[in-house]
């Protein structure tokens, strides 16, 4: 199959929820090295609240992303509430009217997420934030969409690009957020936001690939 039905959003969203739940401790530990250690806890709280809200209901991918974004924005606060809230709500807006999620549309959704994020934060690639995961993932998807790649392959490439981007934050010096005050001392450690973004994108890709292979 070359597209996913928007109405089959539940599995993809639950894949994201479960990935965050499984990585709660890991994200907290990564954050604890140069942040205050609550990233895993906060993300787990937000995603689990969404899971409870969804209950047994089906959802379109667009509506699910909107609801998840709203929960994060309204219930989590911190920096991650507005950041992930914006990302998911922008993805939702960009796909609201579609019945089928194709590769070009998914690339557009991800591009909208990045643009929305740029509207609320000043960080850009190289600043040791989640932008370092999201940006290469978006670039990879755009390239795949333009060259007409297979959707599954494009998602696998996106996940690999996100992973590589996340790993690249290890050698960076933080310029934004709480860890930026560490200067050189932030080098040698992964950025927690880049790490959670990678967990989410990989889970999203996994959930989508499962639909495409069905």
């Amino acid at each position: 199959m070359s597209s996913i039905k928007n109405q089959n959003g539940r599995g993809i969203l639950l894949s994201m929820v479960h990935a965050i739940q499984e990585n709660k401790q890991y994200l907290g530990d990564v954050d604890g090295l140069i942040g205050d250690g609550d990233h895993g806890m906060n993300m787990n709280k937000g995603f689990t609240l969404y899971e409870q809200q969804l209950g047994e209901n089906e959802t379109t991918l667009s509506d699910g992303l909107f609801d998840l974004g709203t929960v994060l924005m309204n219930k989590i606060g911190g920096s991650m509430g507005p950041i992930y809230g914006t990302i998911f709500m922008e993805m939702s807006d960009a796909s609201q009217d579609a019945d089928e999620i194709t590769l070009p549309l998914f690339a557009k959704m991800m591009e909208a997420a990045l643009e929305g994020l740029y509207g609320i934060i000043d960080a850009r690639p190289g600043d040791k934030t989640l932008v370092d995961t999201l940006y290469p993932a978006v670039q990879s998807l755009k390239a795949s969409a333009e060259s007409g790649r297979d959707f599954v392959q494009a998602l696998e490439d996106m996940a690999a690009a996100a992973e590589k981007g996340k790993d690249s934050t290890k050698d960076m010096v933080a310029k934004y957020g709480r860890s930026s005050r560490l200067g050189e001392r932030s080098r040698g450690v992964l950025d927690a936001g880049a790490t959670s973004c990678c967990v989410i994108l990989k889970a999203m890709a996994d959930g989508m690939i499962q639909q495409l292979k069905n």
């Binding site: 219930k75 606060g77 911190g78 507005p82 609320i120 709480r178």
Partner: protein, 338 residues
């Protein structure tokens, strides 16, 4: 972890319930919005018609900040976040609503990325409801960025002076611009520094997420354990005071003949008697430099959970700031009698 807790995930809401029950003569919990089930803490009389509303907010774990500075001639409402984490935009919006007496709202808060984002979003939402909001972003912590990048510095205990002066200006009938100007002047005239002696533990995490080795101290530490400028063997109170006074006085710089307000706050677990030992040394050093202490405050004003250590905040005064600081005020964390 030796703590007084039920479920650590509920600590903020349970703390709020207790706080509002205990201080029902000063504050109330306002819940108006399903998207912010926690509600906001507002002064008993808020909103006061015809007065500029004073709002703040921030993460929990800094008691008495922020809820302790809600009261008469202090903040009208504050938004309450999780421990060390910004309140949501909806929570800030609720605080604006609770404080709005029709003359606009001054949102006086500290320079942290989460707070900046959520306040920015809340201001957009408030605008749609016709509530005008202006901000002052506190940046008094001298060790958090170099002097030529003051806009990057964090807000710490000096925020109390900002709230006190901004709120007094509003209580005296100042319009929104005048209130903002007074609060900005207060924080621009203030410099703070912290020394940490032990780390702190988020109850739901269960272990400290940074380290201060036994026998050492961290100079310039932030309110969430953000690293300072130097880790060195622990010193006596006289030398700690000297380091703190040097950092603060040289940064502003305060000079002979200046009149100042001094605030020494514990970081949570340092006995108050030790804070007076520190204050005694600080006062001697200031006086020796010809700096006159007009008002002084010692206690747990702005803490970091159970961290040991202290912060020093010094505000240079002029006639206007003196008058604003002197005004009567009544909140849990700050009481000023005429």
């Amino acid at each position: 972890m030796q703590r007084i807790l039920n479920n650590p995930d509920n600590i903020v809401d349970e703390m709020l319930e207790g706080f509002v029950k205990c201080h029902s003569d000063i504050v109330k919990l306002v819940k108006t919005n399903d998207d912010n089930p926690r509600g906001v803490v507002a002064a008993k009389e808020a909103p006061i018609a015809g007065k500029v509303g004073i709002v703040s907010g921030g993460g929990s774990g800094h008691k008495p900040a922020f809820v302790g500075y809600v009261g008469r001639n202090m903040c009208d409402a504050v938004a309450v976040g999780e421990i060390f984490s910004s309140p949501t935009a909806t929570a800030f919006l609720d605080a604006f609503r609770a404080a709005n007496g029709g003359k606009g709202v001054a949102c006086l808060y500290g320079n942290y990325s989460g707070d900046n984002m959520n306040v920015k979003m809340a201001i957009k939402m408030a605008k749609r409801e016709g509530i005008e909001v202006k901000t002052v972003v506190a940046n008094d912590d001298v060790c958090s960025a170099p002097k030529d990048q003051r806009e990057k510095r964090r807000g710490v205990a000096g925020e109390i002076f900002m709230w006190k002066c901004g709120a007094a200006k509003a209580a005296k009938g100042g319009n929104l611009d005048e209130v903002i100007e007074a609060a900005q002047k207060a924080i621009d005239s203030t410099r703070s520094v912290g020394i940490g002696l032990t780390p702190c533990t988020l109850p739901a995490v269960g272990h400290p997420n940074f380290e201060i080795k036994e026998g050492t101290m961290e100079v310039g530490i932030g309110h969430h354990g953000e690293p300072g400028v130097e880790v060195c063997p622990i010193e006596n109170a006289e030398n700690m005071a000297k380091r703190m006074v040097d950092l603060v006085v040289n940064d502003y710089p305060f000079t002979s003949g200046d009149e100042v307000a001094v605030l020494v706050s514990g970081l949570g677990a340092t006995p108050v008697m030790e804070l007076y030992v520190l204050y005694n040394e600080i006062e001697k050093l200031l006086v020796a430099q010809g700096i006159k202490v007009y008002r002084s405050y010692v206690g747990n004003y702005f803490t970091s959970l159970e961290m040991m250590g202290a912060t020093l905040s010094v505000m240079k005064l002029d006639d206007e700031l003196k008058e604003l600081l002197d005004m009567e005020a009544y909140s849990m964390g700050f009481k000023q009698q005429l």
